[in-house]
């Protein structure tokens, strides 16, 4: 029973995340963060030390394709979900009574 309720929470979380990713890729994808705007105004430049494989949440060569971005976003969300689970299992109390 409790496991079913926890599964339900997980399902709601996954569905909500997919909605967030879809809305984010289709309608709210344009990013102009305050920090970027402040940096531009003050002439500061970033100097990336690490070349991220998926810069700006896009696959190089397939930029601007919303469907690809959505699939990538959902994949990354599921990766975070999986890693959180593994981390939680590794960090939880060892013995429960």
């Amino acid at each position: 029973m409790e496991m079913d309720r926890d599964r339900r929470i997980l399902m709601i979380g996954v569905i909500t995340s997919i909605i967030f990713v879809t809305v984010g890729c289709l309608w709210l994808s344009s990013s102009a963060e305050t920090l970027d705007e402040v940096a531009e105004r003050f002439g500061a430049q970033d100097l990336p030390l690490w070349s991220a494989p998926l810069p700006d949440y896009e696959i190089p060569g397939l930029e601007g394709n919303a469907l690809v971005d959505i699939v990538l976003g959902i994949g990354a969300t599921l990766l975070i979900l999986g890693l959180s689970f593994v981390m939680g299992k590794a960090l939880k109390v060892k013995e429960e009574f």
Binding site: E2, R5, D6, R7, I9, L10, I12, G13, T16, S17, I18, F20, V21, V23, G24, C25, L28, S29, S30, S31, A32, E33, T34, L35, E37, V38, A39, R41, F42, A44, Q45, D46, L47, P48, L49, W50, S51, A52, P53, L54, P55, D56, Y57, G73, A76, T77, L78, L79, I80, L81, L83, S84, F85, M87, G88, K89, L91, K92, V93, K94
Partner: protein, 231 residues
């Protein structure tokens, strides 16, 4: 608010990493004592949800955009130590895979969004519950926690930028003012979303909010009952 590589001087990067390592050590120690099997689905769900939520950029003032951080909800639902670890995972994946935030500045980003943006909302929520009883305390605490947490995280980012005189040649006052004014509006959105999610959890799954918090100070919600109608 993700600071990229090159915006902060090396000493600031080192100091922020050292500060965050201390918090990570306390967080991992506390999690091994408190985190149970029951926390894990909620922790995984909220971490994934706020990673996804950070992909939605909504317009605010002056042609800039903002996104939710999620720190306040992670703090209230799981406790700030668990919230810090969740936020660290989000920021690490964002920097490593997507180039959103730097590697040398990961310590600063975790300090701003994972420590300030998580612990401050938690303590404001606690304070609000002590001052105001019942639903009002929950609503006011969740809203102010979201608002103040976001603004203070931005103030810290501004301080780090302002102190980085070699990389970011502008005064602390300019950097802090520029960051905090915009983040006030972001904080209002964060506060509203925090109230909404806490209300939904109270109504649908009050048992999840009753889970022990991975926190330095206990959070009790004694008035939550099966008959709770939420906020």
């Amino acid at each position: 608010m993700h600071i990229p590589d090159g915006f902060l001087d090396i000493p600031i990067c080192i100091i922020t990493y050292l500060a965050v390592i201390v918090f990570w050590a306390f967080a991992l120690r506390k999690m091994k004592k408190v985190l149970s099997e029951r926390h894990i689905p909620l922790m995984a769900t909220l971490t994934a949800m706020f990673f996804a939520a950070q992909m939605m950029n909504y317009p605010i003032i002056g042609g800039t955009t903002a996104h939710l951080l999620g720190g306040p909800i992670l703090a209230i639902a799981l406790g700030p130590y668990a919230g810090l670890i969740s936020m660290t995972l989000i920021l690490f994946i964002q920097a490593l895979l997507f180039g959103d935030g730097g590697i040398t500045t990961l310590g600063a980003n975790v300090l701003n969004m994972g420590v300030i943006g998580v612990f401050i909302p938690y303590f404001i929520f606690l304070l609000s519950l002590k001052i105001m009883k019942g639903r009002r305390g929950i609503v006011v605490g969740a809203f102010l926690g979201g608002l103040v947490g976001d603004v203070l995280a931005a103030v810290f980012a501004g301080l780090e930028l302002g102190l980085s005189t070699l990389s970011f040649p502008y005064s602390i006052q300019i950097a802090v003012t520029a960051m905090s004014i915009h983040h006030f509006f972001i904080g209002v959105g964060e506060g509203i979303v925090t109230v909404m999610i806490v209300s939904i959890l109270l109504k649908q799954r009050p048992d999840l909010l009753k889970l022990p918090k991975v926190a330095p100070i206990r959070l009790d919600l004694p008035y939550i009952s099966k008959d709770s109608k939420g906020c």
